[in-house]
Amino acid sequence: MSAKDPVFQAIKTRRASRLFTQEAIAREHLIPMMESARWAPSAGNRRIHKFIVIEDQRTIQLVRSFSPGMLSHPTALIVICTDKDKAALEGVRLAADMSTWVDVGAAAQNIMLTAHELGLGTCPTTSFSHSGVSQALNLPSHLEPEYIVQIGYPLPETRVMRPGVSTKLTVDDITYWGAFEQEN
Protein backbone atom coordinates (compact mmCIF):
# COMPACT_ATOMS: atom_id res chain seq x y z
CA MET A 1 0.00 0.00 0.00
CA SER A 2 1.33 3.40 -0.90
CA ALA A 3 0.74 6.70 0.80
CA LYS A 4 -1.54 7.55 -2.13
CA ASP A 5 -3.82 4.62 -1.49
CA PRO A 6 -7.37 6.03 -1.16
CA VAL A 7 -8.10 4.11 2.03
CA PHE A 8 -4.89 5.33 3.64
CA GLN A 9 -5.57 8.87 2.44
CA ALA A 10 -9.08 8.78 3.88
CA ILE A 11 -7.73 7.61 7.23
CA LYS A 12 -5.04 10.30 7.27
CA THR A 13 -7.24 13.21 6.23
CA ARG A 14 -10.31 12.55 8.38
CA ARG A 15 -10.71 15.06 11.21
CA ALA A 16 -13.30 15.74 13.87
CA SER A 17 -15.54 18.48 12.50
CA ARG A 18 -17.01 20.94 14.96
CA LEU A 19 -18.52 23.39 12.52
CA PHE A 20 -21.23 22.38 10.07
CA THR A 21 -23.51 24.05 7.55
CA GLN A 22 -27.23 23.66 8.11
CA GLU A 23 -27.62 21.77 4.83
CA ALA A 24 -29.64 18.60 5.23
CA ILE A 25 -27.95 15.30 4.41
CA ALA A 26 -29.56 13.23 1.70
CA ARG A 27 -30.71 9.75 2.68
CA GLU A 28 -28.55 8.37 -0.17
CA HIS A 29 -25.52 9.51 1.80
CA LEU A 30 -26.67 8.03 5.07
CA ILE A 31 -27.34 4.59 3.61
CA PRO A 32 -23.70 3.85 2.67
CA MET A 33 -22.65 4.95 6.13
CA MET A 34 -24.97 2.33 7.58
CA GLU A 35 -23.70 -0.25 5.10
CA SER A 36 -20.17 0.43 6.31
CA ALA A 37 -21.33 0.04 9.91
CA ARG A 38 -22.90 -3.29 9.01
CA TRP A 39 -19.56 -4.47 7.57
CA ALA A 40 -17.56 -3.46 10.63
CA PRO A 41 -15.93 -6.27 12.60
CA SER A 42 -17.99 -7.74 15.42
CA ALA A 43 -16.49 -9.89 18.17
CA GLY A 44 -17.60 -13.47 17.62
CA ASN A 45 -19.96 -12.17 14.92
CA ARG A 46 -22.39 -11.53 17.75
CA ARG A 47 -23.86 -8.31 16.25
CA ILE A 48 -25.28 -6.94 19.46
CA HIS A 49 -25.48 -3.31 18.33
CA LYS A 50 -28.31 -1.30 16.81
CA PHE A 51 -28.02 2.00 15.00
CA ILE A 52 -30.54 4.82 15.16
CA VAL A 53 -30.25 7.37 12.36
CA ILE A 54 -31.76 10.74 13.20
CA GLU A 55 -32.52 13.28 10.50
CA ASP A 56 -35.29 15.28 12.20
CA GLN A 57 -33.79 18.58 13.34
CA ARG A 58 -35.97 18.94 16.43
CA THR A 59 -34.97 15.49 17.62
CA ILE A 60 -31.32 16.35 16.99
CA GLN A 61 -31.69 19.49 19.11
CA LEU A 62 -33.35 17.47 21.85
CA VAL A 63 -30.53 14.91 21.88
CA ARG A 64 -27.99 17.73 21.76
CA SER A 65 -29.54 19.26 24.89
CA PHE A 66 -28.37 16.23 26.86
CA SER A 67 -25.03 15.85 25.08
CA PRO A 68 -22.52 18.32 26.51
CA GLY A 69 -19.85 16.83 24.23
CA MET A 70 -21.79 17.91 21.16
CA LEU A 71 -20.15 21.27 20.56
CA SER A 72 -21.35 21.62 16.97
CA HIS A 73 -24.77 21.69 15.34
CA PRO A 74 -24.94 18.56 13.19
CA THR A 75 -27.74 17.92 10.71
CA ALA A 76 -27.81 14.16 11.24
CA LEU A 77 -26.88 11.76 14.00
CA ILE A 78 -26.18 8.06 14.18
CA VAL A 79 -26.66 6.74 17.71
CA ILE A 80 -24.95 3.40 18.27
CA CYS A 81 -26.72 1.35 20.92
CA THR A 82 -26.01 -1.92 22.62
CA ASP A 83 -28.96 -4.27 22.44
CA LYS A 84 -28.86 -5.79 25.91
CA ASP A 85 -31.43 -8.45 25.03
CA LYS A 86 -29.35 -9.60 22.05
CA ALA A 87 -26.24 -9.51 24.22
CA ALA A 88 -27.96 -11.77 26.77
CA LEU A 89 -28.97 -14.17 24.01
CA GLU A 90 -25.36 -14.29 22.85
CA GLY A 91 -24.11 -14.86 26.38
CA VAL A 92 -22.19 -11.60 26.48
CA ARG A 93 -21.41 -10.36 29.98
CA LEU A 94 -21.56 -6.64 29.28
CA ALA A 95 -20.13 -5.53 32.61
CA ALA A 96 -16.92 -7.49 32.04
CA ASP A 97 -16.58 -7.91 28.28
CA MET A 98 -14.88 -4.87 26.75
CA SER A 99 -15.23 -6.22 23.22
CA THR A 100 -18.65 -4.63 22.98
CA TRP A 101 -17.08 -1.17 23.10
CA VAL A 102 -14.34 -2.18 20.70
CA ASP A 103 -17.06 -3.13 18.22
CA VAL A 104 -18.79 0.20 18.75
CA GLY A 105 -15.54 1.99 17.94
CA ALA A 106 -14.92 -0.08 14.82
CA ALA A 107 -18.41 0.61 13.49
CA ALA A 108 -18.08 4.29 14.29
CA GLN A 109 -14.76 4.53 12.46
CA ASN A 110 -16.26 2.87 9.39
CA ILE A 111 -19.14 5.35 9.48
CA MET A 112 -16.82 8.33 9.83
CA LEU A 113 -14.50 7.22 7.04
CA THR A 114 -17.41 6.63 4.70
CA ALA A 115 -18.83 10.05 5.55
CA HIS A 116 -15.43 11.58 4.87
CA GLU A 117 -15.31 9.89 1.48
CA LEU A 118 -18.72 11.41 0.71
CA GLY A 119 -17.51 14.91 1.57
CA LEU A 120 -19.23 14.98 4.95
CA GLY A 121 -17.77 15.88 8.31
CA THR A 122 -18.25 13.88 11.49
CA CYS A 123 -17.48 14.18 15.17
CA PRO A 124 -17.67 11.38 17.71
CA THR A 125 -19.56 11.95 20.93
CA THR A 126 -19.39 9.94 24.10
CA SER A 127 -20.01 12.83 26.49
CA PHE A 128 -23.75 12.59 26.85
CA SER A 129 -26.19 11.69 29.58
CA HIS A 130 -27.38 8.16 28.90
CA SER A 131 -30.65 8.68 30.75
CA GLY A 132 -31.25 12.03 29.03
CA VAL A 133 -30.58 10.70 25.53
CA SER A 134 -32.53 7.49 26.17
CA GLN A 135 -35.55 9.51 27.22
CA ALA A 136 -35.13 11.98 24.35
CA LEU A 137 -35.18 9.11 21.86
CA ASN A 138 -37.80 7.13 23.75
CA LEU A 139 -35.49 4.11 23.70
CA PRO A 140 -36.73 0.81 25.10
CA SER A 141 -34.91 -0.31 28.22
CA HIS A 142 -32.92 -2.99 26.36
CA LEU A 143 -31.18 -0.41 24.14
CA GLU A 144 -28.27 1.42 25.75
CA PRO A 145 -26.89 4.40 23.81
CA GLU A 146 -23.09 4.10 23.70
CA TYR A 147 -21.81 6.50 21.06
CA ILE A 148 -23.19 9.27 18.88
CA VAL A 149 -21.71 10.18 15.50
CA GLN A 150 -22.48 13.77 14.56
CA ILE A 151 -22.71 14.33 10.82
CA GLY A 152 -22.92 17.41 8.64
CA TYR A 153 -21.35 19.28 5.80
CA PRO A 154 -18.17 20.71 7.29
CA LEU A 155 -17.24 24.36 7.35
CA PRO A 156 -13.59 25.48 7.49
CA GLU A 157 -12.36 25.74 11.06
CA THR A 158 -9.66 28.03 12.36
CA ARG A 159 -7.91 26.68 15.39
CA VAL A 160 -6.24 29.46 17.33
CA MET A 161 -3.36 28.10 19.39
CA ARG A 162 -0.85 29.74 21.67
CA PRO A 163 2.52 30.30 20.02
CA GLY A 164 4.87 27.36 20.33
CA VAL A 165 2.19 24.83 21.18
CA SER A 166 2.57 21.69 19.10
CA THR A 167 0.04 18.91 18.90
CA LYS A 168 2.01 16.72 16.52
CA LEU A 169 2.19 13.08 17.50
CA THR A 170 4.48 10.85 15.51
CA VAL A 171 4.42 7.12 14.86
CA ASP A 172 7.63 6.86 16.87
CA ASP A 173 5.91 8.45 19.87
CA ILE A 174 3.50 5.53 20.16
CA THR A 175 5.29 2.56 18.58
CA TYR A 176 7.67 -0.01 20.04
CA TRP A 177 8.98 -2.54 17.54
CA GLY A 178 9.27 -6.04 18.95
CA ALA A 179 9.10 -5.17 22.62
CA PHE A 180 8.13 -2.33 24.91
CA GLU A 181 11.06 -0.13 25.94
CA GLN A 182 10.87 1.90 29.11
CA GLU A 183 11.48 5.58 28.43
CA ASN A 184 14.10 7.28 30.54
Binding site: S65, G69, H130, R162
Partner: protein
Protein backbone atom coordinates in the same frame (compact mmCIF):
# COMPACT_ATOMS: atom_id res chain seq x y z
CA UNK B 1 -28.37 50.65 36.20
CA UNK B 2 -28.04 47.20 34.71
CA UNK B 3 -30.53 46.10 32.08
CA UNK B 4 -33.36 43.78 32.90
CA UNK B 5 -33.39 40.93 30.42
CA UNK B 6 -36.17 38.43 29.96
CA UNK B 7 -34.93 34.88 29.60
CA UNK B 8 -37.50 32.65 27.98
CA UNK B 9 -38.45 29.72 30.16
CA UNK B 10 -37.61 27.38 27.27
CA UNK B 11 -34.06 28.77 27.16
CA UNK B 12 -33.75 28.12 30.88
CA UNK B 13 -35.01 24.58 30.32
CA UNK B 14 -32.33 23.97 27.69
CA UNK B 15 -29.65 25.28 30.02
CA UNK B 16 -31.06 23.08 32.77
CA UNK B 17 -30.76 20.07 30.42
CA UNK B 18 -27.13 20.93 29.70
CA UNK B 19 -26.24 21.47 33.36
CA UNK B 20 -27.92 18.30 34.60
CA UNK B 21 -26.40 16.22 31.79
CA UNK B 22 -22.98 17.70 32.59
CA UNK B 23 -23.37 16.82 36.25
CA UNK B 24 -24.28 13.27 35.23
CA UNK B 25 -21.31 12.67 32.94
CA UNK B 26 -18.89 14.42 35.30
CA UNK B 27 -19.28 11.38 37.53
CA UNK B 28 -17.11 9.34 35.15
CA UNK B 29 -15.29 11.74 32.85
CA UNK B 30 -11.74 13.01 33.49
CA UNK B 31 -11.54 15.68 36.19
CA UNK B 32 -10.61 18.49 33.82
CA UNK B 33 -13.80 17.95 31.81
CA UNK B 34 -15.84 19.36 34.73
CA UNK B 35 -14.31 22.85 34.39
CA UNK B 36 -14.77 22.51 30.62
CA UNK B 37 -18.51 21.90 31.06
CA UNK B 38 -18.80 24.87 33.39
CA UNK B 39 -17.03 27.27 31.05
CA UNK B 40 -19.10 25.93 28.13
CA UNK B 41 -22.22 26.60 30.20
CA UNK B 42 -20.91 30.15 30.71
CA UNK B 43 -20.74 30.48 26.93
CA UNK B 44 -24.31 29.28 26.63
CA UNK B 45 -25.39 31.77 29.28
CA UNK B 46 -23.68 34.53 27.30
CA UNK B 47 -25.43 33.36 24.15
CA UNK B 48 -28.75 33.52 25.93
CA UNK B 49 -28.07 37.02 27.26
CA UNK B 50 -26.99 38.22 23.81
CA UNK B 51 -30.21 36.90 22.33
CA UNK B 52 -32.17 39.00 24.82
CA UNK B 53 -30.64 42.44 24.29
CA UNK B 54 -28.06 43.05 27.03
CA UNK B 55 -28.02 46.77 26.23
CA UNK B 56 -24.83 48.75 26.76
CA UNK B 57 -22.87 45.72 27.97
CA UNK B 58 -23.35 43.83 24.69
CA UNK B 59 -19.67 44.19 23.75
CA UNK B 60 -18.60 42.60 27.02
CA UNK B 61 -20.90 39.60 26.58
CA UNK B 62 -19.83 39.18 22.97
CA UNK B 63 -16.15 39.29 23.90
CA UNK B 64 -16.59 36.81 26.74
CA UNK B 65 -18.46 34.37 24.53
CA UNK B 66 -15.97 34.70 21.69
CA UNK B 67 -13.01 34.09 23.98
CA UNK B 68 -14.60 31.06 25.63
CA UNK B 69 -15.58 29.51 22.30
CA UNK B 70 -12.09 30.05 20.93
CA UNK B 71 -10.13 28.77 23.90
CA UNK B 72 -12.32 26.09 25.47
CA UNK B 73 -11.09 23.47 23.02
CA UNK B 74 -7.55 24.02 24.26
CA UNK B 75 -8.58 21.29 26.68
CA UNK B 76 -7.85 18.89 23.83
CA UNK B 77 -4.63 20.45 22.53
CA UNK B 78 -3.02 22.61 25.18
CA UNK B 79 -3.84 21.73 28.79
CA UNK B 80 -1.55 24.39 30.37
CA UNK B 81 -3.08 27.01 28.10
CA UNK B 82 -6.57 25.80 29.02
CA UNK B 83 -5.77 26.14 32.73
CA UNK B 84 -4.34 29.64 32.22
CA UNK B 85 -7.41 30.65 30.24
CA UNK B 86 -9.72 29.41 33.01
CA UNK B 87 -7.66 31.13 35.67
CA UNK B 88 -7.80 34.47 33.86
CA UNK B 89 -11.50 34.43 33.02
CA UNK B 90 -12.97 35.38 36.42
CA UNK B 91 -10.71 38.44 36.51
CA UNK B 92 -12.29 39.69 33.31
CA UNK B 93 -15.76 39.12 34.68
CA UNK B 94 -14.82 40.76 37.99
CA UNK B 95 -13.68 43.87 36.17
CA UNK B 96 -17.14 44.21 34.66
CA UNK B 97 -19.00 43.29 37.81
CA UNK B 98 -17.01 45.78 39.83
CA UNK B 99 -18.35 48.53 37.60
CA UNK B 100 -21.80 47.68 38.88
CA UNK B 101 -20.79 47.61 42.53
CA UNK B 102 -18.48 50.58 42.50
CA UNK B 103 -20.27 52.81 40.07
CA UNK B 104 -22.56 55.61 41.07
CA UNK B 105 -24.90 54.41 38.37
CA UNK B 106 -26.39 51.90 40.79
CA UNK B 107 -29.41 54.04 41.48
CA UNK B 108 -31.51 52.93 44.38
CA UNK B 109 -28.66 50.85 45.79
CA UNK B 110 -28.80 50.91 49.55
CA UNK B 111 -27.28 48.99 52.40
CA UNK B 112 -29.60 46.13 53.16
CA UNK B 113 -30.58 45.67 49.52
CA UNK B 114 -27.34 44.02 48.48
CA UNK B 115 -28.15 40.44 47.58
CA UNK B 116 -24.63 39.32 48.50
CA UNK B 117 -24.43 40.71 52.01
CA UNK B 118 -26.93 42.89 53.84
CA UNK B 119 -24.15 44.79 55.57
CA UNK B 120 -21.78 45.20 52.65
CA UNK B 121 -21.42 48.56 50.96
CA UNK B 122 -19.06 49.38 48.08
CA UNK B 123 -17.62 52.29 50.02
CA UNK B 124 -16.23 49.79 52.50
CA UNK B 125 -14.00 48.25 49.86
CA UNK B 126 -10.30 48.98 50.36
CA UNK B 127 -8.76 51.39 47.90
CA UNK B 128 -5.35 50.54 46.59
CA UNK B 129 -3.04 53.13 45.16
Amino acid sequence: MSNQIAMAEFEALKLLAYLTASADISLFEPDLYGPFRLIDAASQLAECVLANDPGERRDFWQAIKAEIDQKKIWLMHDRPGFREFLAAMPGKVAKELAKEYLNERMEGWRVGQNPISPTFHPSSLPRFK
